[in-house]
Each structure stands twice: as structure tokens, then as C-alpha cells.
């Protein structure tokens, strides 16, 4: 499967990474190379094989559904590039 410039543009947008128009073609080439490498996996007979979903077979622990942490608004916001009145501030989202 080879990736064309249009697909590269789509993937970049899915990943929310700005890619300049002129960089799309080389990007498509690079991604195609990596996908080609992955296509070796098509040689493997995977009939009846379950996909791995857990590295070590163990039941995940449960805990009481109670608040165990909180009231740390200033810590949560401490590293934000822009905050206003106790909120994260972002550029306008809707017109």
C-alpha cells in the first residue's frame, strides 16, 4: 500500500500536525516506505489467532469509586501557557 500526497495530507490532519504543502510529497514517500516494511506481516498465518490485548494475564484491580484526590486547581493550571480565572484559555473555538 503506497501513500499519495492526498492521503499524507489527511494523515497529517488526523494527527493534528501542520505540514507545509511542499513537504507532503516527501512525507508520503517516507510513510510509504515504513508501510512497506510493515507489509511483511501479511506473510504470517493469523487464522484463529486472538489479538493480544493484555501483556500479562491478570485481572485489573478494582477500587472503591470515591474521590481520592482533588482541590489542586492551581497545580493543574501551573504549567499552562494561558489561563484565565481558573480555566485553561484557548483561541476562539466557534465563530
Amino acid at each position: 500500500m503506497s501513500i499519495d500526497t492526498e492521503t499524507a495530507r489527511k494523515v497529517a490532519h488526523l494527527a493534528r500536525i501542520e505540514v507545509a504543502e511542499a513537504a507532503l510529497e516527501p512525507l508520503a514517500g517516507e510513510l510509504s516506505g515504513i508501510l512497506k516494511f510493515m507489509e511483511q506481516l501479511n506473510e504470517v498465518d493469523i487464522d484463529g489467532v486472538e489479538p493480544m490485548t493484555s501483556v500479562t494475564p491478570m485481572a485489573l484491580k478494582k477500587r472503591q469509586d470515591v474521590v481520592s484526590d482533588g482541590n489542586i486547581q492551581s497545580k493543574v493550571l501551573a504549567n499552562a501557557p494561558d489561563t484565565r480565572e481558573g480555566f485553561f484559555a484557548v483561541p476562539k473555538v466557534v465563530e
Binding site: 501542520e18 515504513i34 504470517v44 489479538p51 500479562t56 484491580k61 489542586i72 504549567n79
Partner: protein, 495 residues
């Protein structure tokens, strides 16, 4: 007075308990060594005030006579570990100025036991790389050189700062993390010991995530004994990491008897690669003979799906990375790009991520987004997860047949030069992990042990793979190999 930077964790522990020197003296020696080693670019942040404060407190505990093994031991901490109030950027521009409000579980455990933090260690950006050249802080240089050749070599990656710092005697030990080989490959390149424990043995809480089903932290140190001591301090159940195993942590150091008589060591035929340098072949054969001489039974084994480990890894790891790294959006922390007055939040996201992530990280995020996207999810991601099941079953089969541990080369070559791979296909760089990545996919423990020197004077390592949760047995085999190989080469100081 002896040069304190030539100690090991074990010898420094014993000497401090005997009152031969204090942690403050030891710490000052290392702070001086770090100051004189800027050419290596191993440290990204220095924390001398924290170090001296921790050392002073450690001395009180040592004097009181009930100090834990790691008390007063100066360490370097990989920049991937969140350290409260101390710059933590995972080697990335996108985390510019990030100072966590919390401490990772592993560093908390080390500090509770009295360990001393000298500073944060340089690394490949978000642990994605095998040469430390993807770091926003610039590459780390290895203290090793090819004979009299002054060309700068890579310490490996992604834990390259950790490897360089330990190898150059800038700390007694360092934390590393290993997603596909990022502890074991740099350890092999720099002649030190690096351990990746079983998945779930050490908490991932507070460690910046790359690929959550593959990431594990571990120690990078000078000897197998030191690895046992430091690993024990790093492991244990953590309710804050749901994949952390609720199992008791054994006394790993006590397991180092060196007696491996009757142990079955598997030699997997699939690790004999076409075009592998003769020196690696020879090293592997020599290591095999050493274990046989120590009384182990050598058994030829087969791990038939080995060939598919790298392609499966390069589907699964980028897929998990694309999800994990979605959090870097210029809102909660780190870098926010400037946008025009006619632009909105989407441009802010996309530009922040374009400016903040380096090319290799961008490439992996995009590959991950692609293999998870509608229409390709089954063909790539689910297929890779099925192949991962087969890779794990390969190991389960040989362990069920009585194999105690597996011996392989750690890397397909010795360290290469910085910049040497700059124009290479990214896949060529990925091949560095060919012997280590299977272990992450199967969730097993692995250790890299320095075993020999190549013709240009560079260290080479062998890897021992253990059964799940059998780090103690694995380290004992490593100890037998270390004892037999008598590896004691050090880089000649040029920095």
C-alpha cells in the same frame, strides 16, 4: 584518597556504612565530574542543590545505622521521569519549561530510600530513537572512541544520556526506560549493564508515556550486582498504575550465587542474522561457552516468529504513541505556537505540534494515526496484535519445554558514529532493536551484559532473556556471564 567516582553502588554502600566517606563527599565528586563532562551532553538539567540536600539527609540515616541499600547513592534520572519542580521535557521542545507538580512513583521510591538525584539525563525525544540524535537538547556523545579516532560516537538510545553518564563515571547508576530496547541497546554500546524488568514489575506512573503496553523502566549501572540492588528499589506494586503487578519483589542481590549448574540456556537460531558482523557471532559463541563452562546446559531453540517482531512493533508502538501524544496540544502545558488573528484553535493545535515535535516523533505519530484510522485498523493494527500473540507464544513454548533463560546478542553491531545514519532510511535505524524488541512485545525481562570488545576497542554486549517475573534467575545467569567474561574495559578519558 581513592577516586570516589570509580566506585560501584555496592562498594559505595559498604564504604559509607563503614564510615570511610560520606554521601556528601561522594556526591560532590560526581557533581565535579559532571561539571567537567559537558562535552558529552549527557545531562539536560543539573540539580546540585537537591543532590547536596538529599546527600546530607542520607548521611544522617547512614550514621543512624538503618539506611536502605540505595541510601546516599548519587544517580542520574532520565528526562522521561516526572520529577517534582524539576524540568522534565522528555527530550522534546513541546514540553518546554514543564515542571511537574508531582513525582513519579519510581523516583519517589528511590528518594524514599535515600538515593541522591544529580540531575536529569538527555534522551531521544519521547524515547523514540536509537542514537540519541532525536533529542531537542542535541545528541549525547559516548565516552567511547574507536581507538585513536576522534570521531564522536553515539551512546545508543533512547536512554543515551543514562548510558553515557554511567559509562563516563558521572553517576553510580541511572534510571532508563525501554520500549523496544532503549535500556539494553545503549547499555551494550557503552559497556554497562542495563535491565528491563517484566512488564508490570515497575510502576509506569509519572513516566512520560510512549507506548504503554511496551514501556518499562529499569536500572543502568556498572555491574550486575548494582543492577540487582537498584532494580529492587525501583520495583513494586503501585495502585496508581493499573498494569502494575501486585507481586512481592524478591531480594535480587541475594539471588546472585553465580551457580547456574543444570540451568537450561536456550540459543535461538532465528537470532543468527544474515550479514551479522563476525565479531557479534564470535561474541555470542564465546558467551555460550562461558555459560556451558559454568555448568549450564545449552539447548538450541527456535522462536519462529522473530522476523516479524520489528514490523509488528512499528505498527503497535506508533499506534499507542499517537494516542498517548495526543495530550500535547498547547493547552495544558508546554509549547503553544503563535497564530494569526484570523486563525483558530485547530491551527493552534496543528502548529504547536508541528513546531514542538521533531521529525521522528511526527513520523511515528502519523504512522500511528494511519494504522488506527478507519479502513486500515484491521489490516495493520489488529494484524500486528495477532502477530504479537504468536511472538509471545514462541517464548511460552520454549519456557514450557524447560528453558530457564535465553542468550542472544544485545545489538547487531557496536556503536556507530553520530551523524552516520543521518541520510539512512528510518528503517535502517529501527534495525538496532532487532534483538531486543521481541522481549518488549512478549512482556519479558531482559538484561544486557558487557561481554567483549570489538577490533576497534568498542564494547559489545550479550542479552539474557528471562521467564516472566524471574528477574532473580535471569540476573544470576548474567552474574555468571559477567564473572566469566571478566569485562573491565573503560573508556579512556578525553572529555
Amino acid at each position: 584518597m581513592t577516586d570516589l567516582t570509580k566506585m560501584t553502588i555496592a562498594s559505595a554502600r559498604d564504604a559509607m556504612r563503614a564510615g570511610e566517606f560520606t554521601s556528601v563527599e561522594l556526591t560532590r565528586s560526581y557533581l565535579d565530574a559532571i561539571e567537567g563532562a559537558k562535552a558529552l551532553n549527557a545531562f539536560s538539567t543539573n540539580t546540585p542543590e537537591i543532590a547536596l540536600d538529599q546527600a546530607t539527609k542520607a548521611d544522617v540515616r547512614i550514621k543512624a545505622g538503618d539506611a536502605p541499600d540505595m541510601c546516599g547513592i548519587p544517580l542520574g534520572i532520565k528526562d522521561l521521569f516526572c520529577t517534582k519542580g524539576v524540568q522534565t521535557q522528555a527530550g522534546s521542545h513541546i514540553l518546554d519549561g514543564f515542571k511537574p507538580e508531582y513525582e513519579s512513583t519510581i523516583t519517589s521510591q528511590l528518594f524514599d530510600r535515600g538515593a541522591v538525584m544529580l540531575g536529569k539525563l538527555n534522551m531521544d525525544e519521547f524515547a523514540m530513537g536509537s542514537s540519541n540524535e532525536t533529542s531537542y537538547y542535541g545528541p549525547v556523545t559516548s565516552p567511547w572512541r574507536r581507538g585513536n579516532d576522534t570521531a564522536a560516537l553515539t551512546p545508543g538510545g533512547s536512554s543515551g544520556g543514562s548510558a553515557s553518564a554511567v559509562s563516563a563515571d558521572l553517576c553510580l547508576g541511572a534510571t532508563g526506560t525501554d520500549t523496544g530496547g532503549s535500556i539494553r541497546q545503549p547499555a551494550a554500546f557503552t559497556g554497562i549493564v542495563g535491565v528491563k524488568p517484566t512488564y508490570g514489575r515497575a510502576s509506569r506512573w509519572g513516566v512520560v508515556a510512549f507506548a504503554s503496553s511496551l514501556d518499562q523502566a529499569g536500572p543502568m549501572v556498572k555491574t550486575v550486582r548494582d543492577s540487582a540492588i537498584m532494580l529492587e528499589a525501583m520495583c513494586g506494586h503501585d495502585p496508581k498504575d493499573s498494569t502494575s503487578a501486585d507481586l512481592a519483589v524478591p531480594n535480587f542481590e541475594a539471588a546472585l550465587s553465580g551457580d547456574i549448574r543444570g540451568k537450561k540456556i536456550g540459543i535461538p537460531k532465528e537470532y543468527r542474522l544474515e550479514g551479522m558482523p563476525d565479531e557479534i557471532e564470535t561474541l555470542w559463541a564465546t558467551g555460550t561457552e562461558m555459560l556451558r563452562d559454568a555448568g549450564a546446559e545449552i539447548v538450541d531453540i527456535s522462536l519462529p516468529h522473530t522476523k516479524y517482531a520489528l514490523p509488528a512493533y512499528y505498527v503497535i508502538a506508533p499506534a499507542e504513541a499517537s494516542s498517548n501524544l495526543a495530550r500535547y496540544d498547547g493547552v495544558k502545558y508546554g509549547l503553544r505556537a503563535k497564530i494569526g488573528s484570523d486563525e483558530g484553535i485547530t491551527q493552534m493545535y496543528e502548529r504547536s505540534r508541528a513546531e514542538g515535535f521533531g521529525p521522528e516523533v511526527q513520523r511515528r505519530i502519523m504512522i500511528g494515526a494511519y494504522v488506527l484510522s478507519a479502513g486500515f485498523y484491521d489490516a495493520y493494527y489488529i494484524r500486528a496484535q495477532k502477530v504479537r500473540t504468536l511472538i509471545k507464544q514462541d517464548f511460552e513454548t520454549v519456557f514450557a519445554n524447560g528453558i530457564d533463560a535465553i542468550l542472544t546478542p544485545a545489538t547487531p553491531s557496536a556503536a556507530f558514529g553520530l551523524g552516520e545514519m543521518a541520510d539512512a532510511d528510518p528503517i535502517k535505524m529501527y534495525l538496532n532493536d532487532v534483538f531486543t524488541v521481541t522481549v518488549n512485545l512478549a512482556g519479558l525481562p531482559g538484561v544486557s551484559v558487557p561481554t567483549g570488545i570489538d577490533k576497534s576497542g568498542l564494547p559489545l554486549g550479550l542479552q539474557i532473556i528471562g521467564q516472566p517475573w524471574a528477574e532473580a534467575d535471569m540476573l544470576n545467569v548474567a552474574y555468571a556471564l559477567e564473572t566469566a567474561s571478566k569485562f573491565d574495559s573503560k573508556p579512556i578519558k578525553w572529555w
